[in-house]
């Protein structure tokens, strides 16, 4: 059975790209905002969350906080157009497993996902 990845980004083209890059080895589910991501993670099992930070509705960081209240185990990769520590991106390093700055290299994301959950 394929491992399940939840991709959370308000930009449909980014979600589409990540799906195309990863769906050969994983089952991909998409959420277009943080609220939807929290809802899905509460209901279903996922092995990994890949999320953007700045999104309409629930902000990525807020979503991570809520997810961590429910699920302390799930690895989280942040994919953001901002660099870590830039502007208001202050992430508790213990909460996230990796931080990837956009644009994303396909080998990099594949490698990182593999490191975290295998295939």
């Amino acid at each position: 059975m394929k491992k399940r990845i939840l991709i959370c980004d308000d930009d449909a083209s980014i979600r589409a790209f990540l799906r195309e890059a990863l769906e050969n080895n994983y089952e991909i589910v998409e959420a277009d905002d943080g609220k939807e991501a929290v809802r899905l993670i509460t209901r279903e099992h996922f092995d990994l969350l890949i999320t953007d930070i700045k999104m309409p509705g629930t902000h990525g960081l807020e979503a991570i906080e809520r997810i961590r209240e429910r699920n302390k185990e799930i690895p989280i990769i942040i994919c953001s157009a901002y660099r870590l520590m830039e502007d208001d991106i202050i992430v508790k390093t213990s909460d996230v497993s990796a931080f990837i700055t956009k644009p994303i290299e396909v080998p990099t994301i594949r490698k990182k996902v593999f490191e975290l959950i295998g295939s």
Partner: protein
């Protein structure tokens, strides 16, 4: 009576001494003569003593009508006693009555003359009858003496009254003159005080003040004006303002204000100071109008705006830097997202064999490029780098085409010929941004009403939504670039709207009520045969 001291205490006692002297003289040269030990002698002594007592009495008491009447009555009694002692009708002592009546009539209590004359007449008649019981009242001596007593009383009362009046008039005139002099002195002192006060006031004002007369000659200068122009007071006062190098632009405004008789408010004028440095001045120029309604000069109140301009420039510089920083961050974020999909799909293209997928990747790449292009458009619009080309625009068609492509319920009402002059793409962008904001503020039941109407030479377009509204604290910042309350907002939407409206010399108002909705009123210049 609060009148002239015509018959003061001193004069009265002097006259009474004359009276006593006359009495003694008359008694001495009467048939009987005045001899030591006789009643007449004691009478003279009593009279003399009484006068010495009178001299000691306070003037206020003597001036009392009853007291002065009593004094004259006492005099009448003394004189009557003298008449009696010196031989009644035979003696000339009655002449002293005339003197008393005269004194009584001319004294403080001028009305006392007639009663004294009556009393004197009665006593004299009684006395003569007593000394000479057989004498007839029709005796020629009575017929002459008694009326004369009254005549003297009337004449001296009349003369005294006139004298009093004259003196009163004189005194009043003198008092008036004294008061007038005092008033003049008081006004002069007040004027000096006022001049000093005005000078202090003018000198302590932080703004510069100069006043010129109708010919443009400087009349008043305060220290701040000296500081700003770099000239001393002596180098400015009494000189024509045109003769002071560097401040001619100020004279032009002054001349115009005096010519039109109208104040020039908050006018900015740039002058040169003595060191040829440019000084921006914020001026209020007010013509001085004299009581006759003519313009007599002009007063200029000005502030040196150099420091304000420097601070404004500093602020603009830091705002520019701040915008630059925000813009760099915004550009980085906005471009990285489409760039991620372009780059990502481009990477995936290498491995893909499926033709359909290949096409969809290429389509994603092209969409990403389009998005980046839109972002560049935003930057260019905001930075006003693009040159605007104005044409005739049918606003109703433009808005209909713009909103028609969007999934939103709307109602478009047009009450006028909706022609404006503008750049079509920019105007489309303007309404697209406004409508987008409305759409984002509303839920699925939301509806946008757009009214187009003519108002005071403008075409007014109202974009009304029933969305969640804008909090009051945010209203003042909504046009500030990069200000956004939306998580995904760029903060450029309304800044671009404002920029486009400014480029078209239009204006925009936003009214909003939380929970009820927002109305944007866009005023754009009416198309007027190409103008």
């Amino acid at each position: 009576m609060d009148i002239i001291n015509f018959m003061n205490k001193r004069a009265l006692s002097l006259l009474r001494f004359v009276l006593i002297l006359s009495t003694i003289l008359v008694m001495t040269y009467s048939n009987k003569g005045l001899h030591f030990g006789e009643p007449g002698y004691f009478l003279a002594i009593i009279y003399l003593i009484s006068n010495f007592i009178l001299v000691r009495l306070p003037e206020r008491l003597i001036n009392m009508p009853a007291v002065s009447f009593a004094i004259f009555l006492f005099d009448i009694i003394i004189i009557s006693a003298g008449v009696y002692l010196t031989g009644g009708v035979q003696t000339d002592f009655y002449l002293i009555y005339f003197l008393i009546i005269f004194i009584a009539s001319t004294g403080q209590n001028t009305g006392a003359g007639i009663p004294i004359a009556i009393v004197a007449s009665i006593i004299y008649i009684w006395l003569v009858h007593h000394t000479e019981p057989g004498i007839s009242l029709w005796d020629s001596r009575f017929l002459i003496r008694i009326p004369f007593l009254f005549i003297v009383s009337f004449v001296s009362s009349y003369w005294s009254e006139s004298m009093h009046k004259e003196l009163k008039k004189k005194e009043e005139l003198e008092r008036f003159n004294r008061e007038l002099k005092k008033e003049v002195e008081r006004i002069a002192a007040k004027e000096i005080e006022l001049r000093i006060y005005n000078e202090k006031l003018i000198n302590s004002v932080a703004s510069g003040i100069i006043a010129v007369n109708i010919d443009g000659v400087i009349m008043t200068v305060n220290p701040e004006a000296e500081r700003v122009f770099g000239y001393k007071k002596d180098e400015l006062i009494d000189y024509h303002i045109k003769s002071i190098p560097g401040i001619e632009p100020l004279y032009e405004k002054i001349e115009s204000s005096m010519k039109n008789g109208k104040a020039i408010i908050r006018e900015e004028v740039e002058v040169l100071n003595r060191n040829q440095e440019k000084i921006p001045l914020g001026c209020n120029i007010t013509p001085l109008i004299n009581p006759g309604g003519d313009i007599s000069g002009c007063v200029v109140l000005f502030r040196d705006l150099s420091e304000i301009r420097r601070l404004e420039e500093q602020l603009r510089h830091s705002e520019r830097l701040s915008y630059l920083g925000k813009m760099a961050s915004w550009v980085a974020h906005e471009i990285r997202n489409p760039l991620t999909s372009i780059d990502g799909f481009a990477q995936l293209l290498f491995d893909i064999k499926d033709e359909k997928k290949r096409e969809s990747y290429i389509s994603e790449i092209r969409q990403g490029v389009k998005r980046i292009n839109n972002i560049i458009d935003d930057i260019l619009t905001f930075a006003r780098i693009k040159r605007l080309e104005f044409t005739k625009i049918d606003l109703k068609n433009l808005i209909e085409n713009t909103i028609g492509n969007m999934k939103v319920k709307y109602q478009l009402n047009c009450y006028t010929e909706p022609l404006i002059k503008g750049e079509e793409e920019a105007i489309r962008r303007l309404f697209l941004n406004l409508i987008n904001n409305s759409v984002e503020a509303m839920d699925e039941n939301g509806m946008i009403v757009i009214n187009i109407d003519a108002k005071n030479g403008w075409i007014l377009t109202e974009v009304i939504d029933n969305g969640k509204g804008i909090p009051e604290k945010d209203l003042k910042n909504i046009f500030t670039p990069f200000f956004t309350t939306k998580p995904r907002g760029t903060g450029l939407g309304l800044a671009i709207v404002k920029k486009i409206i400014d480029d078209h010399n239009g204006k925009i108002e936003i009214r909003s009520e939380l929970g009820k909705g927002t109305t944007c009123l866009v005023y754009l210049p009416k198309y007027n045969n190409g103008r």
